[in-house]
Amino acid sequence: MKKVFIGIFIIAFTLMFLIAMSNSISLFTYNESLPETNVSNDYIHKSVTKDSEEIIFNETKDAETGSANIVTSIVVNYRSFDTLGEVTVLFLSAMGVMLLIGSSDLFMKRKKSGFILRTAAKILFPVLLVVGTYIFTHGHLGSGGGFPGGTMIASSFLLLYLADEKFVAKIEQFKTLLGSAGTLYILIGLTGLLVGGYFLQNFLPTGTVGNLLSSGIIPVVYISIGLKVGSEVTLIISSFLKEEVTS
């Protein structure tokens, strides 16, 4: 009986919720072009400080951010403070998980995995690593960036855990990598403050849009984020595999 009551209750609430939402947004129609008042126009034309109407791939030189992928320009340049906060969130949850269940140093016993998985893992591990590094180094050109790249690396380690029951990731090294990557990101920001007067300012030359060494600090930041995210997720996975300490 209780289930029925809750069911009716939720249906009524959904209807009301949708009516309410429809007041402020149109559920079915989408607008054809970006409204002028929207702040994203500046992001697209990279015209927040310098006023330029058009950015041409491979031609415009030292534009505001110089990164071809506009989303990356937002994530790492225009709103990089968000990303710093973002990285801290992940750092925090990693620390938390390690604090909670990662404190013992002996691992749970794992069953021996199947033959196919063991051999495939040996082949796939380096491929994953290479693809991961490619993704977070080319963040400013194609889609992807620090976060997807980092998770790719972490999944490669997960693959090893699954395949080899005696594999133990070096937790300490990952922690130092984690810390140093984070410190690197903040130090870049601080140099931006010293050099350019604003925290996280893009003090390196942005070069021409489209080529590899083009948009100032973006690749450097994305690399550090990639390493940081990779090590954090690996630590989370490894602490889940750890023995339960009855403190």
């Binding site: 309410a20 939402m21 007041n23 402020s24 947004i25 409204p35 008042t37 929207n38 702040v39 500046d42 992001y43 927040v48 400080t49 340049n77 225009y78 709103r79 990089s80 403070f81 968000d82 710093l84 906060g85 973002e86 801290t88 969130v89 750092f91 925090l92 949850s93 620390m95 938390g96 604090l99 909670l100 404190s103 922690k175 130092t176 984690l178 810390g179 140093s180 984070g182 410190t183 903040i186 920001g189 601080l190 931006g192 403050l193 350019g196 007067g197 604003y198 925290f199 996280l200 300012q201 893009n202």
Partner: protein, 478 residues
């Protein structure tokens, strides 16, 4: 070098560094808190841009007089909490440093989405810290309610972005009045529920009892005074200067906060445990403060926050010490505990009396401003409720104090032999700090003019023009 960004970056940097060095985490934490407090006193009002991009596109940190008071208050309280319970920090130094960064971020940021991220940082840090009491089912409840709340908040911001096209608070505040109230209803409602979780408004404060009641001497004041204080400052900033409230919405929110206030006080009246009394009283006070913000009395709300936050710090630290030393904080089984440690008792009593609004304490000054503010705004119903609740509050506080000070059954003159056995509640250092903080309450309450000068130094807080109590004004013809 008084750039407010440093307030956020330095604790973060120290957190990352302490992960690398791995030992002496405590001292890095102390260093971070010290630097932050010193820095907090140097920042000036104004706006700092991050990454060199002008506000609607980039993120900026806005420091008004209102935020300045918040930052100084919260950082100094964090310093006190850490100093007082340095021995309990142990493995949590990294978490506390990040939480400090999150709290400062929440207070300073001028961007809605950035506020969401810093709130997430603080909330996640709170989940981890609340787990130290080993009551995991309460922590999970807190986590689930917290994440539902933050999801609603995120949905609210996105709706605002869809309607106004930007995420910067000042920009959004400029564009919102142009929209119809029908459109604005859902986003404001969602943001209200999102913030409400952290501000402990009644329907969404289900988690408070579980988490606060088992916190130890470090975590309890952290939750009750620092995180609660920050949430209230953020609520004030959002609902006074950013979101325009139509009158029906104001009335509804007012009803909800008054309901929180009344039910909070009544629930506190019923409790037997010291910490539960304090946590329900802080829920009640949070309700009153939201009511003040909604009706635009920002100065009175700030004074009440200061008085509340400071007295809760002392009382929760001592309540934490109760459970630490006597394994229970039921005030019947703790009768006469202050007989042995009188100075702690004095500090606890001053803080408690300031909460009930006994004169010459800052609590009384806050109550005075509340009354003057409401009368000035022509609202005569709320002062009656506030005064009735003060009586209820006075009742349970005095019942608590009497039980703690005077041991012995009814009809017996209380003697030292009836008191609970002798244990040193707080270390000498902590007792001294508690006493000094308690004296601040007294000084704040007596030298009213200096308090108002420090808090406002001239400008009205967030544009709140309603009069507040200054001695010269009340002198009448000499």
């Amino acid at each position: 070098m008084n750039n407010p960004v440093l307030l956020i970056i330095i604790p973060l940097l120290l957190a990352f560094v302490s992960v690398i060095i791995k030992k002496a985490g405590k001292w890095i934490l102390l260093l971070g808190v010290l630097i932050n407090t010193v820095l907090a006193f140097f920042i000036t009002t104004g706006e700092t841009i991050i990454g060199g991009f002008l506000p609607p596109a980039g993120i900026n940190l806005v420091v008004t007089q209102f935020t300045l008071v918040g930052v100084i208050l919260i950082n100094s309280l964090m310093l006190l909490t850490i100093i007082m319970s340095i021995d309990l920090v142990g493995k949590y130094s990294v978490i506390l440093l990040t939480a400090l960064a999150g709290i400062n971020g929440m207070l300073l940021t001028g961007d809605l989405f950035n506020l969401f991220i810093f709130m997430e940082i603080t909330v996640i840090a709170a989940y981890i810290l609340s787990a130290q009491a080993k009551k995991y089912h309460h922590t999970i409840t807190y986590l689930i309610i917290g994440s539902v709340g933050s999801t609603f908040y995120l949905l609210g911001i996105i709706l605002l972005y869809h309607l106004t096209g930007s995420l910067n608070m000042a920009d959004v505040a400029a564009k919102l009045p142009l929209l119809t109230t029908k459109e604005l209803l859902v986003p404001i409602l969602l943001i209200f529920i999102g913030i409400g979780v952290e501000v402990k408004l009644l329907p969404v404060s289900g988690w408070v009892k579980g988490v606060y009641a088992h916190a130890n001497r470090l975590i309890a004041p952290l939750f009750a005074s620092i995180i609660a204080g920050t949430a209230l400052f953020v609520f004030g900033k959002l609902f006074v200067s950013v979101l325009p409230l139509s009158d029906t919405l104001t009335m509804l929110i007012l009803v909800m906060s008054v309901m929180t206030f009344v039910f909070g006080e009544f629930a506190a009246f019923k409790q037997k445990q010291v910490k539960e009394i304090l946590l329900f009283s802080s829920i009640g006070q949070a309700g009153l403060i939201t009511a003040l913000f909604i009706s635009g009395l920002v100065y009175a709300a700030v004074i009440l926050i200061i008085s509340n936050v400071v007295s809760k710090l002392i009382m929760f630290t001592i309540a934490g010490a109760f459970t630490e030393k006597y394994q229970t904080d039921n005030y019947h089984s703790l009768s006469g505990v202050f007989v042995h440690n009188k100075i702690t008792g004095i500090a606890f009593t001053i803080a408690a009396l300031s909460m009930t609004g006994i004169p010459l304490l800052i609590g009384f000054y806050a109550k005075l401003n509340i009354l003057i503010g409401f009368f000035h705004a022509g609202n005569y119903v709320l002062p009656v409720i506030v005064l009735l609740m003060t009586i209820v509050e006075g009742a349970y506080i005095i019942k608590l104090l009497l039980a703690l000070w005077a041991p012995g059954k009814e009809g017996q003159v209380s003697l030292e032999s009836f008191a609970v056995e002798k244990k040193q509640l707080l270390s000498v250092k902590n007792t001294a700090i508690c006493l000094i903080v308690a004296l601040v309450l007294i000084v704040g309450g007596t030298l009213i003019d200096t308090t108002s000068k420090i808090v406002t130094n001239g400008q009205p807080l967030l544009g709140d023009e309603s009069p507040y109590f200054i001695i010269s004004q009340s002198k009448g013809g000499e």
